[in-house]
Each structure stands twice: as C-alpha cells, then as structure tokens.
Symmetry: C2
Subunit: 271 residues, 2 copies
C-alpha cells in the first residue's frame, strides 16, 4: 500500500495578486482562514508567504508571527514558511522569521531564471539559509526548479548542512526552470536518493495533471493559488481549498489515503 | 552513415589558470598557436575567451580582434567567441567584440549557479545577446547548463530572436548545473527539436566519457583545457590538442568521419 498522501496548500505566494484571482488571501487573518478551509478540504500542510495588507510581498517577522499564531489558534495544519520570498529580497530578509519555528521551511538549492527575473540562490546564500534551518531545528523542504539543484542538495548533505532522508518539492513549469512535462517529474524522481520523500508543485496548467501523476507514482502534492489560479480551463478557483478538493477527489478514486497533519509529520520527520 | 564529427577545442576559458595547467594559452599569440595545433589534431572549431597577458579574463574588443586575426592568418579553423566571459562581467562587456563577426558565438539561455558564483543570464540579457548575434549575422551556439534553458531557447524562437534549426552545446558537470551522468545527455537530446544539431562539453572527469558517448550517439564534441585539464587521471594534458587527439582516436575506432572546417560550416549553417 502506498504511503498516505500529503497535500500542501500554497495559498498566497509572492506573485499571484487579486487582479489575477480575487480569492488570494493577503492579511494574516485571511491567510489563516484559507489555511483552515484547506485543512477541512484535506490539506495537511499550508505553505505561506507574507503579504502586506495591500498584497505587497513581505518576509517581515511580525507578519509571519501573526500568520503562524492565527493558524495555530484554530487548526492543527502544519505550517511551512517560504524562505524564497519575492525575487528582489535579500537573504537576510528571507530568513528573518525562522526563529518562530514553523513546522517546515523551504530551501531552494540553486539559482534560476523566473520569467523576466532571476530567483537568486547562490551557494553561499543556500548555506546561510540551511544553517538557519539547522539552528532552529526546522525540517527543510528542498525546492527544486531544475536538475542541478538536486546535486547541490546532495553536496549540502556532504557538507553537513542537510541531513538525510531529504524531502524534495519539484516546482515544474516556471518559465526559466524545468518544464511541466510528465517525463521531467519521472526524471527527477529517478535522481533522488532512496528513502527521500517528494512532492510536486506544477505551475499554471501543469498543476493538476502533475498532481494526479504524483498521486499515481506515490509522491505528494502541492497545489494552490500561488502556483495556479484556475480550477479548470478559464474558470478561476474559488480558493486554494477548491484545488485541494480536486486532488482529494482524484486520490480517493485511486484508493490513496489522505494524510492527517499527524501522519504527515511522521512521514516528513517533522518535530 | 552518421554525420561527420565536429570537434570544438575550448582552449582557454575564463577559469583555468596556469596554476592548474601550465599549458593554458593566455596571449592572443598563444591562443592562435593552440588553435593551429588543435586544427592539426582534428578540431574544426576553436572556442575562445579573451585573456590579459597575465591570464585575467577579458572580453575587450581589441584582444578578440588580435585573437581572430592571428588565427585567421594561419588557419581555416572556425572561430567561436564566448559571450559568457567571466561570471562577474556585464552583458555589454560580454558582447563588445561581436561586430568582429566570428564564425559563431555562444548564447547561454539561463542563469545557473557556477560553483560559489552565479552565471547570470536573465531573460532580458539573453535577448540583448541574441539581438546582437542577429545584427551581425553570427550563428549562435546555444549553451545549455540545465533543462529549463532548452525551453527558454524555444521561447526565443517564438519571439523571433533565434531561428531553427538550432545548434546546442550541453555543458554538463558544472557544480550548480546539470550533472555529468550519461542519462542527463540522453534526456537533453530527447528534449531538443528534430533537425537540431548538438555537442557536449563535459566538465572535469566527465569530459572524455561524455565525448565518447556523444560520438556514439551521432552528436558533436567540445573538449579542451577550459573544461578539463587532465588527459587521464592525474596526468595533465599537454594542451587542448592532446584532448582533441583522444577524441579523434575514439571516433576513428568507431568509424566516424571527422569534419573539416568546411564541412562543419555546412552542418552548422555558418556563413
């Protein structure tokens, strides 16, 4: 039997604005509400970025503190902080909130074009983030945008900055990163060491097809408005929870059990 | 029968210093001499970076002018300029010499970690280089360090900045880029559109194994001290020409014909 499915809801991100989909949560209150809805729909983890009240991306510690407290007050959903922030942020800014000890935080192990911008993660920056994660004993989700980033993660293991087993998230379909073809996912899964866990975050129209493929392959899934605003062609999602529902529906059809936050913690070695 | 094999000699680069291998050419005169030796050994193209007389990388127009003139005075070998330069150079600096109209020039279609550094090629920078190549009617060699860069090249085709058929060079084994596993080469070759041509530049210990694999697969090959300083484990190469000789030897064993510069021009659509 396959391991229970962990669904992560990426509810806001740094790029999706209300102009794209009016259901993107901005304030800590809105983000917490959306996290609760996603938990009810079947997600066991929520991936959050900080936002100012007008939607401007921020990694400010007090914003993350509000988000974390508001979510924890009303839900057992695991909370994962982004350390990616937005492409123009300094690394110090991106890791400012980690002392709040979220359940997980992301660690992107390379630099990649991100549309017209560059998502900068030089090796010294990666090491700095990894050290901070170790300092606060936060389980990393290794964000992979292309194949070289897997090798860099393994290099960090050798340097003692990451510890196996690793958990990878393959973000596929960013313009500049690895594309969203199903073969790409298969290739990455073949690359990672045995005993690793992995999820896929397909961008845009790749989100649900790659999620379904990951479910078939025994991997885990990230969906949400950060990555994709549509629930089907031309139809805006009512919220990230609606995308979570689609994933749950498919998993149930395939007989794949959904992980609770408690089970997800065990699978991911959190806490 | 397979298409004749094009061997490109990457004789100097921006990173390999005489401290690594005393046979790295620095001055235009030395680079030209090395190009002639590589041509005699079987290379039909030479890939050059500029160097100050003390070995410091430069993309200065007058240095490239001397290199180009000195090579053309004494050899029919095709001359390919790097537009990569060194990781700390501005894009303007990197393309300064293109009005000299070398036979080819490289175009890297993405940003990637390069050891401790970042090799920056944002989409706006890539467009700027591609426009300059079009302006001077120089055939591009698309340098690929990871899979997303292939997709970006295809995007530039759609934008009218590149024209099919494309010629790719897969640079495999840079720490931060795609690794040097043979599966990686196969994966990339499967990705590119039919009618494209390609070569492989394996870095370090991957150089000769990947070159031999490319010969078997019908692709082309880049070797030289820029990418690898050893001719076998622990034995420094006497020059890039010695690595070219190894490749020729293997190709002859496999019954693969070696392309002259004239034939290479035809295959690559140069001139």
């Amino acid at each position: 039997m396959m391991t229970p499915l962990i669904i992560t809801a990426a509810v806001d991100g740094a790029e999706t604005m209300r102009e794209h989909n009016p259901n993107v949560p901005y304030t800590p209150e809105e983000i917490a509400q959306e996290a609760v809805r996603c938990r009810e729909a079947g997600a066991s983890m929520v991936h959050v970025h900080g936002r100012e009240d007008d939607g401007t991306p921020t990694q400010a510690r007090d914003v993350f503190e509000q988000i974390l407290n508001k979510i924890r007050e009303r839900s057992d959903i695991l909370v994962q902080f982004s350390t990616g922030g937005a492409v123009w942020m300094s690394v110090e800014e991106r890791i400012e909130a980690l002392d709040l000890r979220p359940d997980m935080a992301t660690l992107t192990t390379g630099t990649v074009n991100f549309g017209e911008d560059v998502f900068m993660n030089s090796l010294p920056m990666i090491r700095q983030i990894a050290e901070r994660l170790q300092e606060f004993d936060i389980t990393p989700e290794i964000e992979i945008f292309d194949t070289g980033m897997v090798d860099t993660a393994m290099r960090l293991v050798k340097e003692g900055l990451l510890e196996e087993p690793l958990h990878f998230d393959f973000v596929l379909g960013v313009p500049g990163g690895m594309g969203g073809r199903p073969e790409n996912l298969e290739f990455l899964v073949d690359m990672i060491p045995e005993g690793s866990t992995w999820s896929v975050a397909g961008i845009g129209r790749h989100e649900l097809p790659l999620a379904y493929k990951a479910i078939d392959m025994g991997g885990h899934v990230r969906v949400g408005l950060e990555d994709n605003i549509f629930v089907e062609k031309g139809v805006l999602a009512k919220g990230s929870w609606e995308l979570v529902e689609k994933v749950v529906e498919y998993a149930e059809e395939q007989g794949r059990e959904i992980a609770t936050p408690e089970v997800a913690k065990e699978i991911l070695g959190v806490g």
